[in-house]
């Protein structure tokens, strides 16, 4: 696949607003997402029917992840030590460029021409597929959802179900036109069978397997992966080299930390008590063993995470286990879908991650795309205070904007809130304003800027003729 046809992500408020508006007007997209999200919400509720039981699980999962954060440097060193002892080569990458280079070097050394990939959001952060393509290495996605969007040259719209924005007809058409015009592709079964056949050959031929890491256990040097399809096991077992890609926050201390994380991850992500496979890798092929890769590499990616670690509140972003529950329950995500964000990570987690990875000056606007309803906070298995973090990011963005980067829009907003502060901090001025609004507020035309945005969907609010302050005075309510 030629690199120039891969989608390019532009982070700009303008394109975000445009893409949002476009998504809202796409009835097929709306239908697809509404159906998919409702389904996932229901499935999750089925697997966690008891609220207090779920709260107990969350407490455990959250405690385990907080333990990781409280000892992150030490656990990373322990992980490295035990992995190396097991024969897993550990590499460190500050940036995605460096991580790509590491993977390329490993591939070139072994003359890799074809790589098969299991699902990895870190690899999306790296833009790894496009990078490898540029260097003459074909990287085929083997997870069915990832495979579908790779064929259609799209990016994932959801971190767990990457092709969730497509319905059956759309995928069927894709299979007919771009995958295999000879096989029938009307049902999900037929298309799955076709993909199985095609990918089986790729597994068979591949020189290198790439994967993510759901959890890395420091005490034993073990990489853990969840999956339902079996492609992850293929990628990590059949090719002679396995390269695992991981964010530095994914380490846990011990094997005993795994059970609550596993349960909350699979339950929150897909409404399952457990995935079909839980794959625990502690090294390359040992002497006498007949299969397994000869080389296993672990790439630890920073990409802004060590910087997130700095602040007590923002650091909690690193608790994330990438389950996707937040976006499944987000009223914004459900309506605009994942692509409108133009980010690697969409939804609530994307809104707090992206400004921190890409810089608040580049992506701070994402933190505004939320009504702060808190539905995500309620379902997050590791209790990330997402709305608190959004509020902090908004504050940081404003503070940044006050120093520089003033656009006209920002200047207007600063004027408004300054004005608001002046009036609302002075009771006398406030009363005058209240009186004016009571008398003239209802005469404001719908076309007034800002009001017009409201008026597009709603009738204008009506100011009370007599404010509460006035009524209270008339009634003679005590004032002290």
């Amino acid at each position: 696949m030629p690199p120039e046809t891969m989608p390019h992500q532009t982070l700009s408020e303008k394109s975000f607003l445009e893409d949002t508006a476009k998504a809202l007007k796409d009835p097929q997209l709306r239908r697809n997402f509404k159906r998919a999200m409702s389904g996932l919400v229901a499935k999750r509720r089925n697997v966690f029917p008891n609220a207090s039981e779920f709260e107990g699980l969350r407490e455990q999962a959250s405690a385990v992840r907080r333990k990781t954060l409280s000892r992150l440097p030490e656990l990373l060193e322990l992980l490295e030590f035990n992995c190396e002892r097991n024969g897993i080569r550990v590499h460190w990458a500050e940036t995605t460029e460096e991580a790509n280079r590491i993977v390329l070097d490993i591939a070139n050394e072994a003359e890799v021409r074809l790589a098969v990939k299991g699902k990895s959001m870190v690899s999306e952060e790296m833009g790894l597929n496009a990078f490898l393509e540029e260097h003459g290495i074909e990287a085929i996605e083997s997870d069915l959802g990832e495979y579908i969007i790779q064929v259609d040259k799209e990016l994932p719209s959801h971190i767990i179900m990457p092709a969730i924005h497509k319905n059956l007809e759309e995928i069927s058409k894709l299979f007919q036109e771009k995958v295999d015009s000879n096989s029938t592709s009307e049902t999900a079964e037929e298309m799955t069978a076709t993909a199985r056949k095609i990918l089986r050959k790729k597994f068979h031929d591949a020189d290198m397997g790439l994967s993510g890491v759901n959890f890395a256990v420091a005490e034993t040097g073990t990489l853990c992966l969840v999956e339902n399809e079996g492609n992850g096991r293929f990628c990590t077992t059949l090719p002679k080299i396995h390269v695992a890609l991981m964010g530095i926050e994914k380490v846990v201390e011990s094997l005993q930390d795994l059970p609550p994380l596993l349960t909350t991850l699979t339950g929150s992500a897909t409404g399952q008590p457990i995935t079909t496979y839980f794959n625990m890798i502690s090294g390359p092929r040992r002497e006498g063993e007949k299969d397994g890769p000869h080389e296993v590499h672990l790439v630890l990616l920073d990409n802004g995470r060590s910087k997130m670690y700095e602040d007590e509140l923002l650091r909690e972003t690193l608790l994330c286990i990438r389950c996707g529950a937040c976006m499944n329950h987000c009223p914004v995500y459900t309506r605009i879908g994942g692509h409108a964000y133009n980010t690697v990570y969409p939804g609530p987690i994307g809104k707090i991650l992206t400004p921190q990875i890409k810089g608040i000056e580049n992506a701070g606007y994402l933190a505004n795309a939320s009504s702060l309803c808190g539905a995500c906070v309620e379902v997050c298995p590791v209790q990330i205070p997402i709305t608190e973090i959004l509020l902090r990011l908004r504050h940081n963005w404003t503070r940044q904007n006050k120093k520089r980067h003033w656009t006209d829009k920002n200047r207007l907003e600063l004027l408004i809130w300054n004005g608001w502060k002046q009036v609302f901090s002075k009771p006398g001025l406030y009363r005058i304003q209240a009186g004016l609004l009571g008398r003239l507020g209802n005469l404001l035309p719908k076309q007034t800027p800002i009001l017009s945005r409201w008026a597009h969907f709603r009738s204008l609010p009506r100011f009370s003729k007599k404010s509460l302050h006035r009524l209270v005075e008339e009634e003679g309510i005590d004032h002290e």
């Binding site: 009223p331 309803c373 504050h395 502060k421 406030y430 409201w454 969907f457 302050h469």
Partner: protein, 253 residues
């Protein structure tokens, strides 16, 4: 602090925090809240210089501006008596965020004490005053929107619904997706008006589906938003703050 609390004894007097939205747009509702409290034999004090809790600015990322206004509010409520607020989101602002706003500042302790004394109106009526209501109105169907800030930020339960269930001629119909956000979110409704518009549209669909005559809630922001959307569709559903509704039902006009 986990809410709702039930360890508060009925006091002789309380403060009332009107909120800026009630003051400017729903003053009758604000007054109804005061009357309901007075009806239970509690002396209500309304400090004249209160304005706004600061949430609009705070949520927009203008914390310094919010702090200046918040400071003024705290100073208006010096007595160590409960402060009752007819809004879950303003209550949430004043209980969840004031501590952080004044962290490391001289007013920190006072802000903490202020936060600790905040009660939302329905919470206070049910758990502290244990109010008993007699319905004087004709049979009517109502439905309830659970403000997401009231529920998730403040921690409000179903106190208001408990009050509605006391009214014998009021049929409370459950709203589908009752606690899904109505799309207001303060400046979100303007900054992301299209997404907000879709959210409120879905909310109105659910409301109309119930066949209710009234849509009630604790928060004026939600009321303003949903009412605006319903009116825009030509609907006759009446959108009210639960305080006005309760007052009207229990007192002959």
């Amino acid at each position: 602090m986990k809410r709702p609390r039930s360890n508060q004894e009925k006091p002789e007097a309380i403060y009332y925090y009107g909120t800026c939205l009630a003051d400017l747009l729903y003053s009758e509702a604000g007054m109804a809240g005061i009357r309901l409290l007075q009806g239970e034999g509690v002396r209500v004090i309304f400090p004249r210089h209160q304005t706004c809790c600061g949430q609009p600015a705070f949520n927009s990322g203008f914390q310094d501006e919010a702090r200046e206004v918040a400071e003024q509010q705290i100073k208006q409520f010096p007595k160590n008596i409960p402060i009752v607020v007819p809004s879950g989101s303003c209550g949430a602002m004043m209980t969840r965020h004031y501590q952080g706003l004044f962290e490391g500042l001289p007013l920190h302790e006072e802000a903490q004490a202020f936060s600790d004394r905040i009660f939302e109106l329905s919470e206070f009526l049910v758990n502290v005053l244990k109010i008993k209501l007699a319905d004087l109105g004709a049979p009517v169907k109502v439905t309830w929107h659970s403000s997401c800030h009231a529920k998730r930020e403040f921690g409000l339960g179903d106190e208001a619904k408990q009050l509605l269930r006391q009214l014998k001629n009021v049929e409370l119909v459950e709203l589908e997706r009752e606690d899904e956000c109505c799309g207001f979110g303060g400046t979100f409704s303007v900054k992301h008006s299209e997404i907000s518009g879709e959210m409120v549209l879905d909310k109105t669909r659910d409301v109309l589906q119930t066949g209710a005559d009234f849509l009630l809630s604790t928060d004026c922001g939600c009321l303003m938003n949903i009412n605006g959307a319903l009116e825009n569709q030509g609907s006759r559903v009446q959108v009210e703050h639960f305080a006005s509704f309760l007052w009207n039902r229990t007192h002959a006009s």
